[in-house]
Symmetry: C2
């Protein structure tokens, strides 16, 4: 999948365009690239071996690349049957507001829809629910509440 056109000026002028964005569906992403992306959005550093194991155990992993640079990432866990949960949607700040988050969500939901999963869930950071509503997600339907249990020190 190649992102195109969104940098094209409406007047059709031939402004130099940045390299195209490619979306991949492979689980094998170098841990160093993931760490770099996580650092760019202020997430805590994670152990490379743990990253590899978590990706392997994910139901779907999608990533966005500008050439060799990992510029976005998203993944989902689940049972392949009844439910899936979207985690770790991240776009490098230097590449935000270009539609890359949307590309990642579309690619991830395409992956999940092939399993015919009836329920997909996620946890939206404050102010981000509007983004996810565009993909059919709703907050707290039927009064259901998301709850979290964090291990000490995390």
């Amino acid at each position: 999948m190649v992102l195109s056109g969104i940098w094209r000026k409406q007047d059709g002028s031939k402004e130099p365009q940045p390299p195209a964005i490619t979306v991949k569906h492979e689980k094998e992403i170098p841990a160093a690239d993931i760490q770099d992306l996580c650092a760019s959005v202020g997430w805590s550093r994670r152990d490379p071996e743990l990253i590899a194991r978590a990706l392997a155990n994910s139901l779907s992993v999608v990533s966005a690349w500008e050439g060799e640079l990992l510029v976005g990432f998203a993944r989902a866990t689940g049972d392949k049957v009844f439910n899936a949960t979207v985690w770790d949607v991240a776009v490098r700040p230097s590449h935000q507001r270009r539609g890359i988050g949307r590309l990642l969500m579309v690619a991830l939901l395409e992956d999940l829809d092939q399993y015919d999963i009836p329920l997909i869930t996620l946890y939206a950071d404050p102010g981000r629910d509007g983004f996810y509503r565009r993909f059919g997600f709703n907050t707290d339907p039927y009064g259901v509440r998301g709850m979290f249990r964090e291990k000490d020190g995390v």
Copy 2:
């Protein structure tokens, strides 16, 4: 694990006690038993083959038995590393208010804690968040909101 004592009267009298509850950690549970339990709590009927596949793809499955009768169930999905999500906590109405839900949650969290997972999430039905708070779960920390996307017709 055997539930004992909760029916013992405080005066020590020898009232006949109901059969003990046994908690199992096996993923192989006959689909007919699951269907029967789900029907008892008003959940929709699920295909036996899909049930077996979902259990096999779960991170942990715990069940409570009174002899041959499945009286409670809970499971979790996840990546075995960074997160897990608790699903389908159910206790047969005839066996509720006996501490079986607590037994199931303790057993499930024991399973998950062996992976050293930093974040465990769940979606609580209306009015059920008090039950989960006892196990360290909180609603919407940091303003994070649970969101759902349901397939048409589900």
